[in-house]
Subunit: 231 residues, 2 copies
DNA sequence: TCGACGGCTTGACAATTATCAAGTGACTGC
DNA sequence: GCAGTCACTTGATAATTGTCAAGCCGTCGA
């Protein structure tokens, strides 16, 4: 494995503080793989062989039931996914597929679990990461249960504005996936974008301009307890 | 604190394996409190002072936004809640209220965080607990996004059947709260119960009889990746 | 250049879900 | 006992969301 990837993984909060010898051992068993777009990396129901780290590209976490499919999250560099399944040695609850050409570091689950047992610094880093993931999905559940689809879209746009630090930005994903992520159909997402025009949202393809932030916020009523990424 | 509560807390997976001296220290700072029904124990947005352990009674975790409210989970003895907020020292994302007369053990957050840093056995127990909570809420999100309300109710009833080990049981909560938990209105829950009659569900007040399990399963299509409590 | 493809949009319509209003029935306190 | 309360139910109606079909409009490759 090239040193640059090694360093990128080491820089993750999850691995940054762990014992260097343990980290080296973990990386010895690891390998990097390149995937083309739209490749299914893992399938829900299977047992975790590897902890995955996205080094470049992006990965969609999704789930299916009874012929329906929904997108649950997007993983962007540099971060891990399916940590909980790896730790528990329990079946994946989500499937994962690459969205674009992506480079993934694979860490054997066995090694991760063994280190989790022997390296208490690593164990603590895992707690931090897991509690972060847990809180993120709690916020997502609140978003889903307390808001209409129009309100979810409005707040999504405000969160993107916050991330980008500007009132003008491009959507980070296909609209069809955004629709799935927000829990609606592509058709309804189209109509919802129209529905936000009166509140100061201009849409041209993937390009969004928020012309009246105050007005949009008045409608969206964002809350730190749902929309803050950090806490 | 009485020895019986001390032992009940110790028996929790979260505390069972930790160093005895550390556990004793934790319990010295703890205290037990009795609450009447419908008392708000914590309010979302506040900072965690205590890790809560329900010893008897039951607690509703809920959240509000813009005048709406939704029930996210019910905590029954003996288990903890708001572990993630306590560990991160971040604001509660959910509020909690007693559903009935309840006895709660309060463990100062400071002590919990300190022990989490110094007792690696405890830290590992926390990882197990958190990953369990995380996976539970992922399942809940899939339930919400992939199923209609009728399907959610059908699968809920099958889960209760599994828990109780019998085709005849009482609902564990008020129907209004069940409705909120399942992401629907009380009116719709009423109609949904009616809608499940053709699939072998008989309802009389809080009492449920599943007269045709095979038929109900054919409709509900339960999946271990959504409906299994254990994995 | 052209046609095929795929994602997006639009309109008509249907299903699902929520809201409002009224009524039932069980329990409670005077 | 009896009125009052509250959860639950039911019906009518409205809002939201999904489905289906068709058309638009880029991109891409022949």
């Amino acid at each position: 494995m090239s040193d640059s990837y090694r360093q990128e993984v080491r820089d993750l909060a999850l691995f940054a503080e762990m014992d260097m010898g343990n980290f080296e051992a973990l990386m010895r068993g690891a390998y990097v793989q390149n995937f083309p777009p739209r490749i299914e990396l893992i399938t829900e129901g299977e047992l975790p062989d590897f902890l995955h780290v996205v080094v470049s590209g992006s990965v969609d976490l999704f789930s299916t039931w009874n012929g329906r499919e929904t997108s649950l999250a997007t993983v962007r560099p540099v971060s891990t996914f399916i940590l909980a399944a790896t730790i528990r040695g329990a079946p994946y609850l989500m499937s994962a597929r690459t969205l674009e050409k992506s480079r993934i570091v694979l860490l054997p689950s066995e090694d991760v679990r063994r280190l989790f047992d022997s390296d208490s610094v690593f164990a603590r880093a895992i707690v931090t990461e897991l509690s972060q993931c847990y809180r993120a999905i709690v916020k997502n559940t609140k978003d889903l249960k307390l808001r209409t689809s129009l309100e979810r879209l409005a707040n999504y746009l405000l969160r993107q504005r916050q991330r980008n630090g500007t009132d003008e930005f491009d959507l980070m994903m296909e609209k069809r996936r955004l629709a799935s992520f927000l829990g609606m159909t592509p058709e309804n997402l189209s109509r919802s974008f129209k529905g936000l025009e009166p509140f100061g949202v201009k849409v041209a393809g993937n390009h969004i301009v928020i012309t009246d932030v105050a007005d949009l916020m008045r409608f969206a009523k964002p809350s730190p307890l749902i929309d803050d990424d950090s806490t």
